[in-house]
């Protein structure tokens, strides 16, 4: 996704990437980054939590419009309101994805 942001930015449209892996977006040289310590699938916050989603979106807009140089990263200072173990389990799919299944099978076979 940081690479997609780069291609769109290079075509002349400013971008900001809101991501739970901001250090990876930095390594991939995304132009503007907002880091969120939220579980995957929840870039803007908890379901039905308007104020939380708004804080994330407003920060994204501020960084989009106000960053002065490429590589700007600002992290959102908000804690996920669910215990980490529970949230870690909750974001994952009920069935392992095909690539994960393949990795597990190859590990078993080796």
């Amino acid at each position: 996704m940081p690479v997609l942001a780069r291609w769109i930015e290079a075509a002349g449209i400013p971008t900001v990437t809101v991501t739970m892996m901001p250090s990876v977006a930095e390594e991939r040289l995304a132009p503007r980054i907002v880091g969120v310590e939220f579980p995957f699938g929840h870039a803007f916050g908890m379901p039905h939590d308007g104020p939380m989603q708004r804080r994330t979106l407003e920060l994204a807009l501020r960084v989009l419009a106000g960053a002065s140089r490429t590589g700007t990263r600002v992290d959102l200072d908000l804690e996920w309101p669910v215990p980490v173990r529970e949230a870690y389990r909750a974001w994952q799919p009920k069935e392992p994805s095909p690539i994960v299944r393949k990795m597990l099978e190859s590990r078993k076979g080796s």
């Binding site: 690479v3 769109i8 900001v16 929840h42 807009l61 200072d77």
Partner: protein
């Protein structure tokens, strides 16, 4: 507060993401200045949660991914701003879709962005936001050759002044 980028990532996946540096061929910095005021700007959203409109669009192709686990559907969907939670489906095998289906705003905050436009924080929104499915072939060739140019063309047609991308 500095975000821990690997808080929710299974430990075995961490080496796939950490310390890998720039994507091959993408070592130079890129930058397009944001020159307008936000209050005069039209903003677009892009999610990689694999959202699509159940009644009028094909889901992202998960059957092919099941038989070819390294492949991910590189196509994209346009999501009109008035789409409701009940109209939006999610086709993504790498995340639990329950919260996304219950409240798509957690990945594609179209209503919230519309409220900010009404309040005058931004000038407006595009008529159709963007959706892709984030699990892709490592080379990203289809995204580079076809999807990204199509997304750019859509954003230009919509006269978007800026894009907020949110990986799932």
């Amino acid at each position: 507060m500095v975000v821990d980028s690997f808080r929710y990532l299974p430990r075995t996946f961490r080496p796939l993401y950490e310390g890998r540096g720039p994507f091959p061929g993408e070592e130079e910095s890129v930058w397009t200045p944001f020159e307008k005021r936000l209050a005069q700007s039209r903003i677009a959203l892009l999610t990689s949660a694999g959202m699509y409109l159940k009644s009028s669009q094909a889901p992202f192709d998960l059957e092919r991914e099941q038989t070819n686990p390294e492949w991910g559907d590189p196509s994209w969907r346009a999501i009109p701003v008035a789409s409701t939670a009940g109209e939006i489906g999610v086709a993504h095998l790498h995340i639990n879709d329950e919260d996304l289906l219950a409240d798509p705003e957690i990945a594609l905050p179209m209503n919230l962005l519309g409220e900010l436009a009404v309040e005058g924080v931004i000038g407006g929104t595009v008529a159709e936001h963007l959706s892709v499915m984030g699990f892709q072939d490592r080379s990203l060739r289809d995204w580079h050759d076809r999807t990204a140019p199509e997304l750019v063309a859509h954003l230009r047609r919509e006269a978007a002044d800026g894009l907020i991308l949110a990986p799932a």
